[in-house]
Amino acid sequence: MNAIVPPPAAAPQATPFPTTPPAATVDSRFTVPGMRCAACIGKIERGLAAVPGVASARVNLSARRVAVGHVPGLDAEAIIEELRRLGFEAERAADNPLARDSGEQGAETKRLMRALAVAGFGMMNIMLFSVSVWSGADLVTREMFHWLSALIAIPVVAYSGRPFFASALMALRHRRTNMDVPISIGVLLATGMSLYETVTGGAHAYFDGAVMLLFFLLAGRALDAAMRGRARSGIAALLGRMGRGAQVVGDDGAARYLEAERLVPGMVMLVAAGEALAADGEIVEGSTAIDASMLTGESDPRPVGPGDPVHAGMINLGNPVRVAITAAARDTAIADIARLMDEAGQSRSRYVRIADRAARLYAPAVHTLAFLSFCGWLVAGAGVYKALTIATAVLIITCPCALGLAVPAAQVVAAGALMRRGLLIKDGSALERLAEVDEVVLDKTGTLTLGEPRPVNLAVLTAHTGPIALGLAQSSRHPLSRGLARALREAGVRPAPIVAVSETAGAGMRGRYEGVEVALLRPEVESGGLAVDLLVGGFRTRLAFADPLRPDVRETLAALHAQGLRTSIASGDRVEAVGVVARELGLFAAAAMDPAGKLALLERRAAAGHRVLMVGDGLNDGPALAGAHVSIAPGGASDVSQQAADAVFVGERLMPVALALKAARATMRVVRENFAVAVLYNVLAVPLAILGFVTPLVAALAMSGSSLLVVGNSLRLARAAGGKEAA
């Protein structure tokens, strides 16, 4: 086997890009949601490395990011353009608030992982000594082993216990108590007592118990943090639909790029076809069609001309226009909606997670129990030392190892399984709230439907014209082109190599294929509805577009009904448009609703005692998403909606929504079982501890036993939530 391994000297040259930059370079990061496989990595890294000015490109597939080192002269727009040419939609990652957030999350996970590693190291080595003490080592050997255990345990407790000590201190400072207070007291008391035992040459040291407790609890915390971090980074990667900046026309007529927050009223911005507006304004020159679905949920493009108001977040579908800014940054219609969302989100923050509810009962009970056994043994005539040992045993044995793992273990397993099925959950509380849902309200555009135009008559394309259409469509960012390219790729069509491709904004794409003029153009004669004409030579094919329902809407609704959930539609679209869908699906629908109206509808349902799941994508759903008991947004939704929602599903299928509800209920069932295990364990172990029968050996066995039981029970969820799972 070794003979075929190439000599090591060849390895460095195999790197597909130069790793040492020739000159001073700057680093830019881009999120590329579309990359999924090895071929994507190779294509992006090689493609970008070939661009002049780019020194290095490194893909992070887990985070769906590309880090590009390039000369300062090369601007981000140019790199995004290069990525698009390679076939990937990209967004700059730096000015994305959620991305920074996920960085902090990562740091927290790393801190917990380090603490967990240290605790694990300490636990194993102390166990080594403990096992020999239990199996009969005594006198000098036992004393030496106790000293060695102390030598390991004290630094380990000091390092790994910090997350708990800090949290407990914080709670005490606010005159509250939480789960971390009994943990901290238990660990510190156990360590202190064991040190005393060691110094006085006693028989029982609890170092193993204290460190093991830390290890199991940290495992729970690390799982919890890892889950939040992973989901966040996934969502951050999907972000980015709104205008982040605009080309502003200066006094000299030259256009330069300005970030959205630096725009001020009075400026004139140039909005190209396919671009999202970055500020509110009024059209001063040119006429076009705009896609306002983000704000209103209306699916058909609206024609606008000079004097018409347009809003940030709308997308220009037609010709380039000049827009005089009337409101920017904090004063836009979007910002108003954001404020509405902020207020709506307040009610959500009052939700108390199940672990905290348990802790609220549990912590005082543990304190009281430990204190009572201390007093009881004193009264019964035992010395302070004996009473304190028993109180410590009670604290350690009741310390919520199994309880601390009960919730995160189940939620991490469920969230992991759901993620593989295309649903990203932001945190555990979302799963808990999902399980309580009894009613589902769905938006129409972008939720029940795909939210983007798709060709309805692909059959008119032949084996010859199909590849040409794809070759042309894939080079454009226009929504119609993108919809066409996607539909063709799904139909298995391979793009034809088109040369000399050029895009005329508002008109279409032109190019040459095998010497023949080919073009994808806006119809010269409007025919009602969206359409494009494909020209091959002199031959013209008309492709009509519509916003179709997601492929599995019916199955999803049936699955929701089977779970006993009421469903209805709440849409901002016109009554006629909503009526068609509502009749087709047999749902009750409310149409022509503005953001405040949707929120009011949800509040009425909540007041009637219902717990509502809101599924929506548009900016107009933002307040409703934030105000609902729990909410889910599709991956194609606006940034704002994805931030407001508790979960995001990716892809064209709606089924992840029904799956999420099912998985959430299964998760809560497992959490309750886990709690039952923890309580049962306490019912058995606490009397032993109070009566003074708990030795370090018993404590260690009881803790690991109950923890393993809880983790094992949670692992069953991978099957329940994931269905057939290959990985």
Binding site: Q13, A14, T15, P16, C37, A38, A39, I41, G42, R46, A49, A50, V59, N60, L61, S62, A63, K110, M113, R114, A117, V118, F121, M124, N125, L128, T141, L148, I152
Partner: protein, 49 residues
């Protein structure tokens, strides 16, 4: 029993070096892109070197 004088430090040193290795791996980002490493092996290396 004198073997303990050798075995215990050995066990501790091995444990500590494992811990140090894990810390190092975390610091240099070995766990940053778990999916990427699994996929990179599939990339053909015959591209422009």
């Amino acid at each position: 029993m004198t073997i303990l004088g050798f075995l215990i430090p050995l066990a501790l040193v091995m444990g500590l070096s494992g811990l140090a290795f894990f810390f190092w791996a975390m610091k240099v980002g070995q766990f940053d892109d778990l999916d990427g490493a699994a996929n990179r092996i599939l990339i053909d290396e015959d591209g422009p070197g």
